[in-house]
C-alpha cells in the first residue's frame, strides 16, 4: 500500500514539530525516517498511524484519504521503542490480541487464531516462548513479540518507532539484519524511525532525512550519502572534516588565480564558482591521501597525532601545522599506510581527493577536485 502525505503541519504549543511535509512512499518498500532527536520523525510516524492529528494537511493510503479515519480502522501495525507489550498477558495472548479484537464476523475461530499465532511466533523464532510473560523475555525477544503482534492482523502498513533504540549494540545489529530479511519475506510497506545513520543506511530501500520538522532529502541510501542535497545531510551522514578558511579570488602568490587560504595552508581553486570571502570545505575521512610532499594544488601540512591500525583501513587523527582546523580524521587503505611508513608525530601533507564547498550562508557550493 502506498502512503502519501500532503502538506502536513503540526505544532505543539509554540513548537513547530512538522512544517509542510509532503512525501510519497511507494508500496512494499522499507523506508527509513532518519533525523536527530527533535526533527519531528516520531511525530510524523504517529500522524501516519493516526495516534496524532496533524493541524493541517492530509494522509492518503493508496490514494484514499484517511486523515480523519480513527486509529482502529487504519489497519496499521505499529512497533514501539519500549515494546509496549501487554504485561499481564502471555506472549501467545499478546500476539493474538489483534485477532481477538476483530469484529465477530471477521474473527477467526479459536483453532484458526491459534494456528495464526503459532505461525507468527515461528516467523519471529519464538514458538518455544509462547507461554512466557513479557517480563521474562530479553529486550530483543520482546521486540520480536511486538513485531509478531503488529503483523498478526495483516496490516496494510507497518510503522516502527525506533524499534531497536532500547537494545544494546550487538542485539541491535542482529535484529536489523533480521528485519531486513523479514521484510523480504513479507513485503508490507514499512516505515521505521531512527536516529542511527548506520541503521537507516543498512536497512532501508529509501531514506528520508529530516531536520527541524522538515524533509531535507529523500533517496536511496547510496544516493543520500554520495550526493547529499544540503549541508545538513552531508553533516549528519557519516563523519566529516571541516576546513574553514578564506577564498582569495586573485592571489598574487598563485599568479592571480583564486585560492583558499588558512594560515600557511592553501588550496588552488577553479577559476569560477567559488565566491570571495569565507569558504569552508567538507571532506569525508576516506576522501584524502597523505604524502611526504605538497602538490601544486594543495598545501596542507599536518602532523600525525593518533593512529589506529586495527582493521583493513587505518584511522589517523591529524593536527594542522601552521593553520587552524579541528582534529582531522583520515582513513587510509592499509597498503598505502605501510608504503608511507607513517609513525606518530610525523609531519606529512594532506592531499584531499574530493572537497564539498560550503558557502558563507551555509549553502552547498561546487565540489572541488584538488588532485
Amino acid at each position: 500500500m502506498s502512503i502519501t502525505l500532503d502538506n502536513l503541519s503540526k505544532t505543539f504549543g509554540s513548537y513547530q514539530a512538522l512544517e509542510d511535509i509532503s512525501l510519497s512512499l511507494t508500496g512494499g518498500e522499507l523506508v527509513g525516517l532518519l533525523g536527530p532527536s527533535g526533527s519531528g520523525k516520531t511525530t510524523l510516524l504517529r500522524i501516519i498511524a493516526g495516534l496524532e492529528k496533524a493541524d493541517t494537511g492530509r494522509v492518503l493510503f493508496d490514494g484514499k484519504d484517511v486523515t480523519n479515519m480513527p486509529v482502529q480502522q487504519r489497519k496499521v501495525g505499529f512497533v514501539f521503542q519500549q515494546y509496549a507489550l501487554f504485561r499481564h498477558m502471555t506472549v501467545f495472548d499478546n500476539v493474538g490480541f489483534g485477532l481477538r479484537m476483530l469484529p465477530r464476523h471477521e474473527r477467526p475461530d479459536r483453532a484458526a487464531r491459534k494456528a495464526r499465532i503459532m505461525e507468527l511466533l515461528e516467523l519471529v523464532q519464538l514458538e518455544q516462548l509462547a507461554k512466557r510473560y513479557p517480563a521474562q523475555l530479553s529486550g530483543g525477544q520482546r521486540q520480536r513479540v511486538a513485531l509478531a503482534r503488529a503483523l498478526a492482523v495483516n496490516p496494510s502498513v507497518l510503522l516502527l518507532d525506533e524499534p531497536f533504540g532500547a537494545l544494546d549494540a550487538k542485539v541491535r545489529k542482529e535484529l536489523r539484519r533480521w528485519l531486513r530479511r523479514l521484510h523480504e519475506q513479507i513485503p508490507v510497506t514499512s516505515v521505521f524511525v531512527t536516529h542511527d545513520q548506520e541503521e537507516a543506511m543498512e536497512v532501508s530501500d529509501q531514506v528520508v532525512v529530516m531536520s527541524q520538522g522538515r524533509i531535507e532529502q529523500i533517496g536511496a541510501p547510496r544516493q543520500v550519502y554520495e550526493e547529499p542535497a544540503s549541508r545538513f545531510v552531508f553533516d549528519f551522514l557519516g563523519h566529516i572534516n571541516a576546513l574553514a578558511g578564506q577564498c582569495n579570488l586573485a592571489c598574487a602568490d598563485s599568479g592571480g588565480r583564486p585560492r583558499w587560504e588558512n594560515g600557511v595552508a592553501w588550496l588552488a581553486l577553479p577559476d569560477s564558482g567559488c565566491p570571495s570571502g569565507e569558504l569552508t570545505f567538507y571532506m569525508r575521512p576516506h576522501e584524502a591521501q597523505l604524502a611526504h610532499s605538497p602538490t601544486d594544488k594543495a598545501h596542507l601540512p599536518v602532523v600525525v597525532e593518533e593512529l589506529s591500525v586495527f582493521g583493513a583501513t587505518v584511522k589517523l587523527e591529524l593536527g594542522a601545522v601552521g593553520w587552524h582546523a579541528h582534529a582531522l580524521e583520515v582513513e587510509l587503505p592499509r597498503d598505502d599506510f605501510l608504503a608511507l611508513g607513517i609513525e606518530r608525530r610525523q609531519q606529512l601533507f594532506l592531499r584531499p581527493l574530493r572537497l564539498q564547498s560550503i558557502t558563507a550562508n551555509g549553502a552547498l557550493g561546487p565540489v572541488i577536485d584538488p588532485t
Binding site: 498511524a49 482502529q72 501487554f86 503488529a150 498478526a152 544494546d168
Partner: protein
C-alpha cells in the same frame, strides 16, 4: 541493614518496641478486654440493641455507597490527569488533595452551609421534601468528600509510570476505547485499584469529624458507629461503647490485613516486572 550490635543500638530497638506496645498495642488490647470484660452475654445484648444495629447498618450503607462512587471518580480523575494534556491539569491534581489538607469538620460545616435548610439551595430542596442534612444522605455526601482522593492518589503515580503505550498499542490493534480499558488498562491497575478501595473503605467506616457536623446526632436515625461510640461513652455504657469500638477496630484490622496482602502483591508484580534480563539476552537470538 545490619543487626544491632552495641548496647545503644539495642536500647534504641527496645525503645521503639516499648513505644509501639504502649501507644498502639495496649489501647487495642484494652478495647477488646473492656468490651469482653462483662462477659459475652453483655456483648451480645449490646449488639442486639436496635440503636447499635442501626448504627452498624448506617455505617455499612455509607461505605457501600461511598466506595463505588469514589472508585469511579478516582479512576476517571486518574485517567484524565495521566492520559490527557490540558490547561489546568496540574491545578486539578492539587485540587484532589483538598480533602487531605482540610479538617473534616470544616468540610462538614461547608456542606451544612450549602445544603442546610437555611441556605437557598437547602430551602428549595426542603420545599420539595428532600432533606440532605441531619439525615443519611448528608452523612454519605460528606463521607464521599472526605475519602475521594484515595483511589486517585494511588492510581495517578502508577498510571503515570506505566504510560499510555500499551493503550495506544491496543487501539492500533483495533480495540475500541472501552475494550482497551477493560483488557489493558484495568488489568494493569487492578491491584492498585483494590488497594485504593480498601483504604477508602477504612476511612469511610471510621469517619467522625465531618459526619458529626452533618448528622445531627439523632439516636437510632443518624448515628454511625464512630458517633455511636461517643454517645454510649457519654451515657456511661462502657461495655456498649467498647463493643462498638471493638467492632470498628476489627474492621480496621481486617482492612490492614487486606492492605498488607495487596501491598505484597504489588511488590511482587514490580519485582517480576523488573527481572534482570542479562542472562536471558543470549538465548534464542534470531538466526
Amino acid at each position: 541493614m545490619q543487626t544491632p550490635r552495641s548496647l545503644l543500638q539495642w536500647s534504641l530497638v527496645l525503645l521503639a518496641l516499648a513505644l509501639t506496645v504502649l501507644l498502639l498495642v495496649l489501647p487495642l488490647v484494652l478495647i477488646f478486654s473492656k468490651a469482653l470484660g462483662a462477659g459475652w452475654e453483655m456483648v451480645a445484648l449490646n449488639l442486639a440493641d436496635s440503636d447499635m444495629r442501626h448504627a452498624i447498618w448506617l455505617t455499612v450503607l455509607a461505605a457501600l455507597i461511598t466506595v463505588p462512587v469514589n472508585l469511579v471518580f478516582g479512576v476517571l480523575l486518574a485517567w484524565c490527569v495521566t492520559r490527557y494534556e490540558f490547561r489546568g491539569r496540574k491545578f486539578l491534581t492539587t485540587l484532589i488533595d483538598i480533602p487531605f489538607a482540610m479538617s473534616p469538620v470544616v468540610a462538614g460545616l461547608c456542606y451544612l452551609v450549602i445544603y442546610g435548610i437555611e441556605s437557598r439551595l437547602g430551602g428549595w430542596l426542603y420545599d420539595h421534601d428532600i432533606q440532605l442534612m441531619f439525615a443519611w444522605p448528608g452523612i454519605v455526601m460528606v463521607t464521599i468528600f472526605v475519602t475521594c482522593p484515595y483511589v486517585a492518589r494511588v492510581l495517578i503515580p502508577l498510571m503515570e509510570s506505566q504510560g499510555s503505550d500499551e493503550e495506544e498499542a491496543a487501539l492500533l490493534l483495533g480495540a475500541s476505547g472501552f475494550k482497551t480499558f477493560l483488557y489493558v488498562t484495568l488489568p494493569n491497575i487492578k491491584w492498585a485499584l483494590l488497594y485504593g478501595v480498601v483504604i477508602t473503605n477504612a476511612r469511610a467506616v471510621g469517619e467522625f469529624g465531618a459526619v458529626s457536623v452533618v448528622s445531627g446526632s439523632i439516636r437510632g436515625q443518624t448515628l454511625t458507629l464512630p458517633l455511636h461510640v461517643e454517645l454510649l461513652h457519654q451515657d456511661y455504657n462502657t461495655v456498649g461503647a467498647f463493643t462498638a469500638a471493638a467492632l470498628l477496630a476489627s474492621m480496621a484490622m481486617l482492612t490492614l490485613v487486606l492492605k498488607t496482602i495487596m501491598e505484597w502483591r504489588q511488590q511482587q508484580r514490580i519485582t517480576n516486572g523488573n527481572v534482570d534480563h542479562e542472562n536471558v539476552e543470549k538465548e534464542a537470538q534470531p538466526q
